[in-house]
């Protein structure tokens, strides 16, 4: 309906190769960016920043990381939480032990640490696939969290294992209010999402997808499976590492190893499944869905309670949340295995074909 594609021809390959080839898409994207960078900072309340926007962005970044590994390269991983932990504690220690360390450099180095760990624990993927690989990433998850809790140096000998992330400060300007923290996270996530989009649409992205779809054929045309799989692990872990650092510094403030348990890996895996495997945009959809769902549930539960009159037993809220989570995963896998991203794409195609049927 909104699309006016007539006349948007491509005279050079560069034009045909852009992320958004249709002008209406570019306008739409610009509006979203404007809303994110300008509108929200003006109108959103502290609660919305702290409880919804910042976690949504951080989880999107982690979801992009996992999507690169599982969605694009086809390597199932349950170790996302661990890589985030490496990023969080890595950044903390870098800031702690090297004074004057700029925060952004700390995040990048923490990301690189996570990438290195990712490569080491990605080595089994060269020989095993499917469940077995998922099991080996479980080993990663347990082993790293065990290290973080057991090695006092990492948590700076804190008795309870809790660490307080340093303040975020760049060139003297402190990012400590919800709005500034939100902007800080938004900039990082936007830049890294763009880099991810560039990766998946260039040669390395195609190599990942080739390995995912038919690794035998990929090998025969000259794609080295080791290089492809390990880069996927490295890039994915880098993204999870930075997301972990943001998780500690910009979201929780103080964090402990128990924040990065297997449950977090599952949550991010759900985001990638519901959002859409093999789609950067899907990662954002998935993150938004999983972040907003509990909020929506609690509102509807309190609404039902006010209707029905008496309050439901206390623990009911969390168990309903679990049931809804589980049911939604199954629902999406049945109705649309490619998740919300596919539904979005179908919707766009329908609008482009309007008024004709899809």
């Amino acid at each position: 309906m909104f699309y006016r594609e007539a006349g948007q021809f491509k005279a050079t390959y560069a034009e045909d190769n852009r992320i958004f080839t249709i002008r209406q898409d570019r306008i739409g994207f610009a509006l979203i960016l404007a809303a994110a960078f300008v509108l929200l900072p003006l109108i959103a309340t502290h609660y919305i920043f702290e409880a919804i926007l910042i976690p949504f962005l951080i989880f999107s970044l982690a979801a992009i990381g996992l999507n690169i590994l599982t969605g694009y390269a086809g390597q199932v991983s349950l170790g996302t939480g661990a890589f985030m932990a490496v990023g969080a504690f890595g950044a903390y220690n870098l800031m702690l032990r090297i004074d004057g360390m700029p925060i952004l450099l700390a995040f990048i180095l923490a990301g690189l640490c996570a990438a290195a760990v990712g490569i080491v624990f990605g080595l089994p993927s060269l020989r095993i696939r499917g469940f077995y690989l998922a099991a080996s990433t479980l080993a990663t998850q347990f082993f790293i969290i065990w290290c973080v809790t057991k090695i006092p140096w990492i948590t700076n000998h804190s008795a309870s294992g809790v660490i307080n992330a340093q303040k975020i400060e760049i060139l003297g300007f402190a990012f400590d209010t919800p709005v500034t923290k939100y902007i800080f996270v938004l900039v990082i996530v936007s830049v890294m999402a763009l880099l991810a989009k560039n990766l998946v649409r260039s040669n390395i992205g195609r190599s990942w997808m080739a390995i995912r779809d038919m690794d035998m054929a990929a090998e025969v045309i000259g794609i080295r499976p080791m290089y492809a799989k390990l880069t996927a692990f490295a890039v994915s872990s880098f993204y999870c590492g930075v997301a972990g650092a943001l998780f500690a510094f910009a979201y929780l403030g103080s964090v402990e190893p128990e924040a990065f348990l297997l449950d977090l890996s599952f949550r991010i895996l759900f985001m990638v499944i519901i959002g859409g495997l093999g789609s950067i945009l899907g990662s954002f959809f998935g993150a938004a869905f999983i972040v907003l769902l509990p909020v929506f549930l609690s509102i509807s539960v309190s609404f039902i309670e006010s209707e029905v009159g008496h309050t439901l037993p206390s623990g009911i809220g969390s168990s309903i949340e679990l049931m809804v989570f589980g049911a939604l995963i199954i629902f999406f896998l049945i109705v649309e295995p490619q998740g919300l991203a596919r539904l979005w794409q179908i919707g766009k195609e329908k609008l482009r074909l309007w008024p004709f049927p899809h």
């Binding site: 309906m1 699309y3 006016r4 594609e5 007539a6 006349g7 948007q8 021809f9 491509k10 005279a11 050079t12 390959y13 034009e15 045909d16 074909l353 309007w354 008024p355 004709f356 049927p357």
Partner: protein
Amino acid sequence: MSEYAPHDTFPNLLLHHARVRPRHPAVREKDLGIWQTWTWSEVAEEIAALAGGLAKLGFKRGDNLAIVGDNRPRLYWSMCAAQILGGVPVPMYQDAVTQELIFVLQDAEIKFAVVEDQEQVDKLIEARASCPLLSQILYDDPRGLRHYDEPFLHSIDEVQEAGRGHLREHPDFIAQEIAAGKGSDIAIMLYTSGTTGKPKGVCMTHAALLAAARGSCGFDRLDADEEVLSYLPMAWVGDNLFSYAQAMVAGFTVNCPESGDTVMTDLREIGPTFYFAPPRIFENLLTQVMIRMEDASALKRRVFSYFMEVARRCGAEILDGKPVRLADRLLYALGNFLIYGPLRNVLGMSRVRIAYTAGAAIGPDLFRFYRSIGINLKQLYGSTETCAYVCLQKDREIRLDTVGAPAPGVEVKIAANGEVLVKSAAMFEGYYKRPDATAETIDQDGYFHTGDAGYFDPDGQLKIIDRAKDVGQLANGALYAPNYIENKLKFFQYIREAVAFGNGRDQVCAFVNIDMGAVGNWAERRNIPYSGYTDLAQKPEVYELVRECIEQANAELAQDPMLADSQVRRFLILHKELDPDDDELTRTRKVRRGFVADKYRVLIDALYSERRSQFIETQVKFEDGRSGVVSAELAICDARSFAPQAAKQAA
């Protein structure tokens, strides 16, 4: 920039644009996935190189250059290259069989030919046996030609390279050649499709073509930023005026589609601002729209038909700027956002400022449909000899059943027998080597006999009713205009072709060809099984459907006092589609009435007898050249006619 450069020949205009707007895109072609673009300066260099190459091969002033192939930049460039050297380009229909090519090659004494690809090269090689003069053939697309080592065969690239060498040796060769050219030289020769006897070569001078092009550009205020998609045969005068002459005058961009079957997607990609097509294409488009909408969801269909009703009510009036109720205007605006805008976009016509239809009469409903959804469609009447247009419809003064008032600088009068006579600066010079035929059509005081019958209605707009020679009289002396009746029947989406008979008889009967797509879809919706065209054509339900259409047409005919008597009384549906390959239609799909009348004599007699059905067996030529036989028992059916009302005010 409404005034245009005053140069007198096309090569001069080429140099003008190369100088005035060197980096403005002149030509684009969809190739290798993107639209390859050439600016005016690049086009001038390419054409100069080609001209140099042709001269090196011995192309001299006054020679004719045959051009055969789809719309390709390099074929348009060879036109201009020939004109630079004082030669005359002769574009021909790319889907013509070798026999048809041979006639023109001999008639125009062709020595040089520029063709598109292997398919055309093979035809010309086959034709060389009977055209000894044909000594040089240049080809554009080398695919498949690697092993052709004939001496007379050259790729255009080689010729251009040789040409660039030639120009280095004679730097002012091109300037001299262009200077030698003048406005009165013949700029192009187009062979009419010859509904009447053998095709004749219509010669048009630079001056005539430029006068026509400047007239139409000025009339519609075309400027250098227009985008035009050129996909119609280069041998049709319309393509030459709209894609070549007007581009040279206004300096806008001509876009060549990737191939014949990607025209629709290329149309949508380019989104032309100036669009022209014969009525048949507009008809097919409308049928496609209706068929696809039938598959849409119920809600979408309801919204679509509701707003189509709104458009039918006030769309055309809004486009003409006439006063419309505010409520309707708001509704139409909403409709524009919901339905008409997207519909124009999906058809690729969002950016169309002006659309012309020409070459045959367009049905009023079809005409109204496009105008009502905001496409500024205008009808054009003219012929090859009058350089495509005689009358033009002014924006805001569009009448559905007339072709508009005579264009500026064109005098039109009606002869005694109702034939339309035209005199203008844009008229053709004469028929090539056929002074006799020229004298026949241009009388002493310089009027060209168009061969069409028509009359001026009260407010000075010309109304064309039929071919002059086809106009006859019924037994009771009433006017009988077969084309007018046939067009009325063809305006229904289910009828693709119709042939009326009645000259000198007491009542009018007709053959009908159903539209396989529309009727097929209609039948599937009512799950009527059918195996093929012949089987579907004989279905009683289909006869019922066609009968309703004919009776509706009869009702409209009854309102026009002059034509009330020629309502169709009896009809039959032909068992095969009339086809140019069987010589039943011309290349531009006009019915060859005489030929059809002889071939189906037995059916005509059956129509005028009391028979309820008639067996028929005919030779058919299939696509791959094999010929076979199609036969069927054709039912004959009566159609209700209406008493002629008093001269009711036309709708």
